[in-house]
């Protein structure tokens, strides 16, 4: 029985990892070798042309590095604002009883159910009326905070010991200073987890940048990949190279900080309420 479970786990792990391995190996092969049957997992030689083409772009404008930078900037800024606003809101919901608190919480949770396609056009009209299309602000504004982050912080802060807070108040600290100097620094696990999960989620955002970025310089990675995939000169190898480049930063983040990704999933579970 034991052996069977090991076998199943290992087989599943291999199956799940194989597409990622495929992406990396295919990026190092010329296109015609990728579609040759059967697939040769190990490339015959290190074919770096694909990476050169992905970075250079089909029109030679080397715009991909700029798009990668944009993704970092947008994902980074959204992580910061989300952590701050979610902590603020979560704290208010967790530690300050007020009339209508439950209603507020429910309303916030309800926003999770709004499909983005439903609001993308009205959002776009809001953005253009503020004249922020094709700007970093435009990319970031609709994502300043989200219900998931607020939920996460609230869950975490509910269990924050009240005695510490009351002691600080008796000592004469103001509420804001309590938040800034006691709550935030002592919520490192939740903050770190939220920051990383938000970063990953923004890194992946396709629909909004598609509408709001209108020039090449303001596009983010998913837009570049979609554009690159549709262009007539792109072959499978170059596609996989572009995909690999897009995945390396996030995979590095994942491997080094895996405990926050892993516990992020788990912070969401167990006791509710």
């Amino acid at each position: 029985m034991d052996v069977i479970i090991w076998a199943l786990l290992i087989a599943t792990a291999l199956l799940i990892l194989s597409p990622i391995v495929f992406m990396f190996t295919a990026s190092l092969m010329p296109a015609r070798d990728i579609v040759k049957m059967p697939y040769r997992w190990i490339p015959e030689e290190l074919y770096l042309d694909n990476y050169a083409q992905a970075i250079r772009g089909n029109d030679g404008s080397y715009i991909y590095p700029r798009n990668i930078l944009n993704s970092f900037i947008v994902a980074g800024l959204v992580s910061v604002t989300t952590v701050l606003l979610s902590a603020l809101t979560g704290y208010g919901l967790a530690k300050f009883p007020f009339k209508g608190r439950n209603l507020v919480f429910l309303l916030i949770m309800a926003t999770m159910m709004i499909p983005f396609e439903a609001i993308m056009i009205p959002l776009y009209l809001v953005a253009t009326s503020l004249n922020i299309q094709n700007t970093y602000i435009g990319l970031i504004l609709p994502f300043l905070t989200n219900a998931f982050g607020i939920f996460l912080m609230r869950q975490y802060l509910i269990t924050f010991p009240d005695e510490i807070l009351d002691a600080a108040r008796i000592d004469g600290s103001g509420e804001l200073s309590i938040f800034w100097r006691i709550i935030l620094p002592n919520s490192a696990p939740a903050v770190a987890t939220l920051a990383i999960l938000t970063f990953r989620s923004q890194w992946d955002n396709l629909l909004w940048p598609l509408l709001i970025s209108q020039s090449e310089e303001m596009k983010t990675i998913p837009l570049y990949i979609v554009k690159f995939a549709m262009e007539k000169h792109t072959n499978e190898g170059a596609m996989m190279a572009a995909a690999s480049i897009a995945s390396i930063p996030i995979l590095i983040l994942f491997i080094t900080l895996s405990k926050y990704f892993v516990s992020g999933a788990s912070l969401y579970s167990s006791r509710k309420g």
Binding site: D59, T128, S129, Q133, L210, E216, V226, K227
Partner: protein
């Protein structure tokens, strides 16, 4: 002096200075990607900006599938670009909804409307005429023929000059000889269709059999069921559930062709592809191991119908200030004053009479094949809803090819949906 007179003096100084300094006019120019065209148009931008120092032109390229969405959302927010171009089926809605300006003949360098019309091959401006006014200038008029790889033919023991398919039935026969499979999986296709472009490349097949997408009075969907059924049966037989000669789910033929990788024998494409072969694979281009033949006809075709032609027209946003519009037309005319360079470097045809009579054109490889088909072809169906109708035809063909639907059911569904669109109940 007192406050008031100081203020007045201030105004008197500021206003004339600002007039002197002049406003820069910035033009947003959105177009689809084409590396060869980008090179020459960037040069035209430089030259134009030198001629008109207070004009700045920002050129942005999008992939040809994304540009419709982007132009659409921009216009929906009243933030459309000054100059843009798309295929006419996608552009027509902008004309009908009065979002683009009619041609400013003077700015574009024409004496009047007649002079403009006479400069172009008759009929090629018709698609942008609306209520008597002209709303765009042609960047390219394209029609498609069959481009074939001679080496693939020879490899299968055929002589490309003699054995190329002249009818669709022959296309099936030739493709069977050229196709290589491993089990059911095709590793080399003889030919495959140009799948998403149903209005341009598939409707002519129906029309060859005597059918029509829409009746002449524009009110009824689907004319001549028999022709349509024959066409749908043909496509079903072509696909994975029939003779397995090709499918929309393989990589599209024209993207594979240039690489000369022995995985495709023929594809449907336009003159511009020849410039792409030259850029992508100069060895293949120079070897001349390729040729162009006319669009096949069904054996018992009732009409001779080559692939429809379509056009890209440069259009100007009517919601921009008058100066912007005027400069936009000036710039467009400036770009379009180089038709021979567009032909030579980008291999697109701007249907000016001057170009078609020039030696550059006559010496271009296989231009005679393309022109011969172009003269016999008509413009692709376009209307405010042509994008929707094209996707309905796509659904119908895919359902018989991929989902095993019967031709009769697919046709009924298609008729119902297209009729809805026509009745504007949609």
């Amino acid at each position: 002096m007192n406050r008031r007179s100081f203020f007045v003096m201030f105004l008197c100084l500021v206003i004339p200075i600002s007039l002197l300094v002049g406003k820069t006019i910035e033009l947003q120019f959105w177009t689809h990607e084409d590396p060869n065209r980008t090179v020459i148009e960037n040069r035209y931008i430089e030259e134009f900006q030198k001629m008109y120092p207070d004009v700045v032109i920002k050129r942005v390229t999008q992939s040809s599938t994304k540009i419709q969405e982007l132009v659409l959302t921009a216009f929906a927010a009243n933030q459309g670009p000054d100059i843009f171009n798309m295929s006419i089926e996608d552009e027509y809605a902008y004309i009908v909804n009065q979002r683009v300006a009619s041609v400013n003949y003077e700015a574009a360098g024409y004496e009047n409307k007649e002079a403009l019309i006479n400069a172009y091959l008759p009929g090629t401006l018709d698609p942008v005429v609306f209520e008597g006014e002209i709303y765009g200038l042609p960047l390219e008029i394209t029609n498609w023929c069959i481009l074939l790889n001679k080496k693939v033919f020879k490899d299968a023991g055929l002589d490309p000059e003699k054995d190329y398919p002249k009818t669709w039935e022959e296309m099936v026969e030739v493709s069977e000889k050229l196709t290589i499979r491993e089990g059911q999986i095709i590793t080399r296709r003889g030919f495959d269709f140009r799948y998403p472009y149903y209005l341009v490349a598939f409707i002519p097949m129906v029309e060859q059999l005597g059918g029509k997408l829409i009746s002449d009075d524009g009110k009824t969907a689907i004319v001549n069921d028999e022709a349509w059924l024959k066409f749908l049966d043909f496509m079903a037989a072509w696909g994975p559930n029939g003779l397995n000669l090709g499918s929309p789910t393989y990589k599209n033929a024209r993207s594979l062709f240039n690489m000369d990788n022995n995985d495709i024998g023929m594809c449907t494409t336009g003159l511009y592809q020849l410039a792409r072969i030259k850029a992508d694979n100069p060895a293949f281009y120079d070897s001349r191991e390729w040729m162009v033949v006319p669009f096949p006809q069904f054996e018992n075709a009732v009409n001779y119908v080559p692939a429809h032609y379509y056009g890209h027209y440069y259009m100007v946003n009517v919601q921009k200030p008058k100066e912007n519009q005027e400069m936009a037309w000036k710039f467009i005319a400036f770009m379009l004053s180089h038709p021979e360079e567009y032909l030579d470097k980008v291999a697109i045809i701007q249907p000016t009479n001057e170009l078609l009579e020039s030696d550059t054109f006559k010496n271009y490889p296989y231009s005679d094949v393309f022109i011969s088909d172009l003269e016999k072809s008509t413009v692709v169906y376009f209307s405010e809803y042509s994008a929707k109708i094209q996707s309905l035809v796509k659904e119908a063909v895919e359902s018989v090819m991929l989902s095993n639907a019967s031709s009769r059911d697919a046709l009924n569904a298609l008729r119902r949906k297209v009729q809805e669109v026509l009745d504007d109940q949609y």
